[in-house]
Amino acid sequence: MKENASGERKTQCSDESKCFELLESILDGEMIDSGKEVLKEKLAKCQPCFEHYHLEQAIRDVLKTKCTKQAVPTELADSIRKQIQDIK
């Protein structure tokens, strides 16, 4: 039977907790060699994994690009250097 032809993903993940943690490690760049194959397989075959991966990726992107950054007070570097001078 070919009803479940390739391209269709299963709608339930049998081991979500483990899979998601694995996907997160891959996204964090921790599984550079073995990760690619695992990832390809999971994204192709499992809808929950596919969605989780893209959600996690989106969250990482917004964390990186949108989180408010504080400008370093201009006098801080000078004040540190001055104190270092004093203990030299």
């Binding site: 921790e30 949108k66 950054k69 007070p73 540190i80």
Partner: protein, 198 residues
């Protein structure tokens, strides 16, 4: 990073390391300090304190190794040992307590599985920052180190003095908590979260 004095740098070498390898990280250090304390003066003190310690213990730094991770570890230790003691500890959360609580397998991502990548992409910087800031400091820290500062699990393990496995699981839990917060924003802001009306 051991405190054992491995070498003795000349004054010139010390200056070169300090200026070339330590000072370039002042921006990241200050932001880390600010995200831990939410206070500009406290962040300044923490950074200043960290750099003074770094200079004092410069002989235990191996030139050419990861200065940023080395500095972050000092800052994090200063925060725990000094700042947390001094402050009124508004965010004091017992690590063990939090870890045990969230370690239970019941806390799954299912609770927020309605959150969509599209709604996250539409969120404002303030919403993202607030969600991150609302996490307990220990969960906040792993996300800052990993996602904002780009440290590897191994570097994080060294900075935080915990095993890599704990880094991985703490991050996983931190991300689940963050998603819960984001889900809250998504619903309040009327983003599409695909929640069935009941």
């Amino acid at each position: 990073m051991s405190e054992v004095q491995r070498r003795k740098y000349s004054q010139e070498e010390k200056n070169a390391i300090f200026d070339g390898e330590f000072m370039p990280h002042i921006d990241s250090m200050y932001n880390f300090g600010y995200r831990l304390t939410f206070d500009e003066d406290d962040a300044k003190d923490l950074v200043q304190d960290t750099y003074l310690k770094a200079y004092r213990f410069i002989n235990s730094f191996e030139q050419g190794t990861n200065a940023k991770a080395w500095l972050f570890r000092i800052l994090k230790n200063s925060f725990i040992n000094e700042y947390r003691k001094k402050s009124k500890q508004p965010t004091k959360v017992d690590y063990q307590e939090v870890e045990t609580y969230y370690n239970s397998d019941d806390v799954h991502y299912q609770s927020t599985s309605d959150l969509r990548a599209e709604s996250v992409k539409d969120m404002l910087g303030d919403e993202i920052s607030n969600a991150l800031n609302s996490l307990a400091v220990d969960f906040r820290t792993v996300i800052i180190l990993c996602d904002l500062e780009g440290f590897t699990y191994e570097e994080m393990a060294k900075i935080l003095d915990i095993p890599i496995g704990t880094v991985r699981s703490r991050l996983h839990r931190a991300r689940n908590l963050l998603k819960e917060k984001l889900q809250g924003y998504a619903q309040n802001m009327g983003y599409n979260t695909d929640v069935d009306e009941e």
